[in-house]
C-alpha cells in the first residue's frame, strides 16, 4: 500500500485514529495515521446488525412469554449460555432453566446477583427489558455523524 492510498473513511473509530503501514515515494515504510476504511466499516457494521437482529428476535420471544428477561441481557452482552456460565459461575443447565420466564420469575434476588454484577446493572434492571429494540447501531450512527 502506498502512503497516498491509506484510506481515510471516517466511521466507527469514535474519533480515534489508527496506524497503517504504507510505503512512501522512495519505497520506504512509514506509519501513516488513518481514520478508518470503508471495507472495515462495512464488516463492523454487519457484526452489529447481526447482534441487533438477534436482540429483535429475543425481545419478541420475551413478549410471547417464551423467554425470560435474562435472555435479552445475555444477547445484549454478546453471550450464549456457555459463555455466560463461565463468567457468572452459574452452571449451564441452571442458566438454561433461568431463560424460562416461569423459572426466572420465581428466583430469589440472591440467585440473580451474579448476572446483575456481571452485566453491571441492578437486580431490578435485570428483570426489565425495553419495549422496543434500542439498536446498538443507534449509538454507532451517532458516532459516525459526529465524525463526518
Amino acid at each position: 500500500m502506498k502512503k497516498n492510498d491509506v484510506p481515510q473513511h471516517s466511521g466507527l473509530l469514535s474519533g480515534n485514529r489508527e496506524v497503517n503501514y504504507a510505503v512512501d515515494v522512495d519505497g520506504r515504510y512509514i506509519l501513516e495515521s488513518s481514520v478508518g476504511w470503508e471495507a472495515k466499516n462495512i464488516a463492523l457494521r454487519q457484526a452489529w446488525e447481526a447482534i441487533a437482529d438477534e436482540l429483535t428476535v429475543v425481545l419478541a420471544e420475551i413478549k410471547d412469554g417464551k423467554k425470560s428477561a435474562l435472555a435479552y441481557h445475555m444477547v445484549k452482552n454478546q453471550m450464549d449460555p456457555a459463555l455466560l456460565s463461565q463468567y457468572s459461575g452459574v452452571a449451564r443447565w441452571r442458566i438454561k432453566r433461568h431463560l424460562k420466564p416461569a423459572v426466572f420469575a420465581g428466583l430469589r434476588p440472591a440467585d440473580v446477583v451474579p448476572y446483575a454484577e456481571l452485566f453491571g446493572i441492578s437486580v431490578d434492571e435485570l428483570r426489565f427489558v425495553p419495549e422496543e429494540l434500542i439498536s446498538p447501531l443507534a449509538g454507532l450512527d451517532q458516532v459516525e455523524a459526529d465524525n463526518s
Partner: protein
C-alpha cells in the same frame, strides 16, 4: 503514581507492547522489528474454534507468543504470571507498579471502557502496558491509541479475567533483566526462519499457506452450506480478523514487509529488500480480497460468482505467499 513510560502509537497491540517495553528498558526497537523477531506472521483457519460464534481465522501467531519469542531471541529475561483469583492478580500488579515496573497484560476488549464502542467484542487477546495507578484508576499505555488512557480498576479486573476463547486468566508479563550484548542479526534470522516454518512446513491443513488454501476451498462452499445470510456473516468475520484495529493493514502483511525492509539493513542482505516489496504486493492482494469481500457483504455483488472470485483471490494469495516464504528461507543461506 505513574511510571515515566514513553508511549508510542503502533498498529498492533502485542508487537507494540513489546517494542514499547524494549524501548523503555533501553533497547530502541520499532514495532515491525519486534513483530519480525517475535515471528508474528501466521495464518490459520480453524473452523471448530469459534470467536463471536464464527470460525477462528487468524493472521498472526497466538497471543503472548510475539513477546515471548522476541525477548527470548534477544536473550532478555522476562517473568510471566497467571493467577487463580482477581484479588491476587490485582495485588501483584499493584506491587510491581509500586516497584516502578511497567507491566504487560493480556485483556478482553469487551470490558475496556476506553475502546471505541463499535470495537467492543469478546476478543481476549488484547495486550497493553499498565504504567501506573491513581486512586481507583489504572494508567495504561495501549499501543493502538494515540495517547495513554485511564481505566477503572473494576473494569481492568473484568478484562484481565475475561472468559471464553483465549481467556487471559490475569496473565501479566514484564522484563526482569536486559542482557549486556544483543545479537540482533541472529535474533532476526531466527524470527524469519520461524515464520517460514509455520507458513510452509507444519503438517496440518489448517495452518500457514495450507490454511489459506483451506479457507479458499471452504469459502467457495459457504453459500451452499450456510445460506446467504450466514455466509455473509462468515465473510465479514474474515475481513474483521484481517483488517480490524491492530493488523496495520492486510492481516499483518504490511508490518512484515516493513520488518523485512529493516532487516535488510541490519543483515546487509539486499535480497530482503526485494522480498519486502513482494510481501507488500501480497498485502495489496489481501486488501483487494477485503475490499471485494466487503462489497459482497454490503450486497453489491452477491451470488456464487463473487464467492468463487473471492476464493480465487485467496488462492492467489496462497501461491504468492508460498513462493515468498520459500525464497525468504533460501535468502538467509549465504
Amino acid at each position: 503514581m505513574k511510571i515515566n513510560f514513553p508511549h508510542r502509537q503502533f498498529a498492533h497491540c502485542e508487537s507494540g507492547v513489546t517494542a514499547n517495553l524494549l524501548n523503555y528498558h533501553g533497547f530502541p526497537c520499532s514495532e515491525a522489528m519486534a513483530f519480525g523477531i517475535g515471528g508474528g506472521l501466521f495464518f490459520a483457519y480453524v473452523p471448530f474454534v469459534k470467536i463471536n460464534f464464527l470460525p477462528l481465522t487468524t493472521y498472526r501467531i497466538g497471543p503472548g507468543s510475539i513477546f515471548a519469542k522476541a525477548t527470548r531471541r534477544l536473550g532478555i529475561k522476562v517473568i510471566k504470571k497467571k493467577f487463580g483469583s482477581p484479588e491476587s492478580a490485582e495485588n501483584e500488579l499493584d506491587r510491581l507498579l509500586e516497584a516502578g515496573r511497567p507491566v504487560g497484560a493480556q485483556t478482553g476488549v469487551f470490558w475496556l471502557p476506553f475502546f471505541p464502542p463499535a470495537y467492543r467484542f469478546h476478543f481476549n487477546g488484547h495486550n497493553l502496558v499498565v504504567i501506573g495507578k491513581e486512586g481507583s484508576d489504572y494508567l495504561i499505555s495501549d499501543p493502538i491509541f494515540e495517547e495513554t488512557v485511564r481505566c477503572p480498576a473494576a473494569d481492568l479486573r473484568k478484562a484481565r479475567f475475561a472468559k471464553g476463547a483465549l481467556a487471559p486468566k490475569g496473565r501479566i508479563y514484564y522484563i526482569e533483566k536486559m542482557p549486556v550484548h544483543f545479537n540482533l542479526p541472529k535474533a532476526i534470522e531466527s524470527g524469519i526462519r520461524d515464520v517460514c516454518r509455520v507458513m510452509l512446513k507444519v503438517p496440518l491443513p489448517l495452518l500457514g499457506v495450507r490454511g489459506i488454501r483451506l479457507l479458499a476451498r471452504q469459502l467457495a462452499k459457504w453459500p451452499d452450506r450456510f445460506g446467504e445470510k450466514q455466509s455473509l456473516l462468515h465473510l465479514g468475520h474474515v475481513i474483521r480478523m484481517q483488517e480490524e484495529i491492530g493488523t496495520g493493514g492486510a492481516g499483518f502483511r504490511f508490518i512484515y514487509a516493513a520488518f523485512l525492509q529493516e532487516a535488510a539493513g541490519v543483515l546487509e542482505n539486499d535480497r530482503l529488500i526485494d522480498l519486502s516489496r513482494r510481501c507488500t504486493a501480497v498485502g495489496d492482494l489481501w486488501r483487494d480480497f477485503a475490499l471485494l469481500a466487503s462489497r459482497v457483504c454490503k450486497g453489491r455483488a452477491v451470488g456464487q460468482d463473487s464467492f468463487d472470485h473471492l476464493a480465487a483471490l485467496l488462492s492467489s494469495c496462497a501461491v504468492h505467499e508460498e513462493a515468498l516464504f520459500e525464497d525468504l528461507r533460501s535468502a538467509l543461506v549465504r
